[in-house]
């Protein structure tokens, strides 16, 4: 039960946090000027977007949840956590960011998912 709670937190909070950060960045608009002064102004604008901080907080929660999950040393839960995070991203992006996920991108995501699973299994 405890593992399932942390699993939900890692996938949900992690993906949710990154979606919030992504949405915050899109509202700021595309960056064209990469000079240090322009980047500093961009960082200042980003720091004033509330959703940015919501996203960072959720990502922090997900990080510590993953540490807790790893401390339980239950590999059967750690493997799906990291793999499912890569599936959660396009689902969340399509639902909340309006991104169009074509079949090629879905295929790529699933292949990455498989690769991440193999990498984690290789640690056993």
């Amino acid at each position: 039960m405890r593992e399932l709670v942390f699993l939900f937190l890692v996938i949900g909070a992690g993906t949710g946090g990154e979606l919030c950060v992504s949405h915050a960045m899109k509202t700021l608009g595309e960056v064209h000027d990469f000079r240090p002064a322009a980047l500093a102004r961009f960082a200042w604008r980003a720091a004033r977007v509330a959703r940015m901080w919501v996203g960072v907080s959720l990502m922090t929660l997900a990080f510590f949840s993953l540490l807790a999950l790893l401390s339980m040393e239950n590999v059967s839960f750690v493997v799906p956590v990291t793999a499912l995070s890569y599936v959660g991203a396009p689902v969340g992006a399509a639902l909340f960011l309006g991104e169009k996920i074509n079949s090629q991108r879905w295929l790529g995501v699933l292949v990455v998912c498989l690769g991440v699973t193999l990498v984690w299994l290789s640690r056993r």
Binding site: G108, V112, V116
Partner: protein
């Protein structure tokens, strides 16, 4: 939706920053913390001593700097590219970590891990050949 002629190029450059600087930052932080060690007894004086060693560790400051570059690159690329494009592409950092470990630290990487890395690279290649932006510019 009219894209900049350099959209793909700048996306690949920033993804390169992400997959290089994140693992490097983590390795440097790990190296710094291993050099400091852990507290034998959780007494204030000992914890203060550890904090001073953390704040004066070059590895840790360099690790923080690299992770800062990673996060800035990550934020910047998300101002134009899809999250569903950037996130799987950043999985290429698994390959970077393994290559650095094998090449620089002489770590043994087993066949299953190399297979996983090859599969990740294939997936990143497939995702990388979709358009980085599928939403309207804000």
């Amino acid at each position: 939706m009219k894209d900049s002629p350099f959209l793909h190029l700048k996306t690949y450059i920033f993804l390169l920053f992400i997959v290089l600087f994140a693992p490097l930052g983590n390795v440097l932080l790990s190296r710094g913390m291993k050099g400091i060690g852990s507290a034998a007894r959780w007494e204030p004086r000992e914890l203060l001593h550890i904090l001073v060693r953390i704040l004066t560790s070059g590895y840790i400051w360099l690790g923080i700097a690299f992770l800062l570059v990673f996060f800035i690159a990550y934020m910047l690329v998300l101002t134009w590219a899809d999250y569903s494009y950037v996130q799987p592409a950043s999985a290429f950092s698994f390959a970077v970590v393994a290559i650095f470990g094998f090449w620089l630290l002489g770590e043994k990487v087993n066949l299953l891990r190399w297979t996983g890395i090859a599969v990740i690279c294939l997936g990143v290649f497939v995702v990388g050949h979709t358009h980085p932006r599928t939403t309207e510019k804000s």
